[in-house]
Point group: C2
Chain length 116, copies 2
């Protein structure tokens, strides 16, 4: 278990920006060029390109240059990492609430986690 990680930092960072999340959302509906993706946003193209780079280096998207156009496609694989982390987290948390539940129901002390 816990094999996910790796670029988890970068993926979470990539998703922490609304512009980038919007791009991801858009790419969910299919591939698009940088220009197409940039169109809904006010910012300069160069600024927007930085977001694309962040998404790409984090592994959230893949891009290829065809002619003078750069095509971007979603890399759903990257989100599995987030999903996996979340699942592990929930597993830890749920096993804890399970123990708590047993403790409450049984009245026995099952609740010390500091090894002192």
């Amino acid at each position: 278990m816990a094999q996910y990680a790796e670029r988890l930092d970068e993926v979470f960072h990539a998703l922490s920006d609304p512009t980038r999340r919007a791009v991801v959302r858009r790419l969910g509906t299919g591939p698009a060029s940088v220009g197409e993706l940039a169109e809904p946003f006010e910012m300069a193209l160069t600024s927007f390109l930085k977001h694309i780079r962040v998404l790409e280096t984090s592994g959230c998207i893949r891009t290829v240059k065809r002619g003078r156009v750069r095509e971007c496609v979603l890399e759903p694989h990257a989100f599995a990492a987030v999903d996996g982390w979340l699942a592990e987290e929930r597993a830890v948390w749920e096993s804890r609430t399970d123990r708590l539940e047993r403790f409450v129901l049984s009245g026995t002390d099952d609740e010390r986690e500091d090894g002192s």
Copy 2:
């Protein structure tokens, strides 16, 4: 749909740091004081406290001061937001692959999404 969001920026940002993810993981096993949480890390307590603040303002954790000790507890609710976003994302993406599948199987053109 899409009711989650709100502090999604902050939550993703909070989770983009390994120290903070480790804290979240630890808190999954139960509440802890700032000092307890800080112990495994090299950094100064004041530096560590900033991480706690980030986690708190993002809504990932809740803290209360009892005596001179500040207790931190996980706020699993916050992760539901991430989970929700992820689910929406996947929904978009899967409806797209469904359409693609139909297209491939039927041979009809079902694949234009730009309204031009």
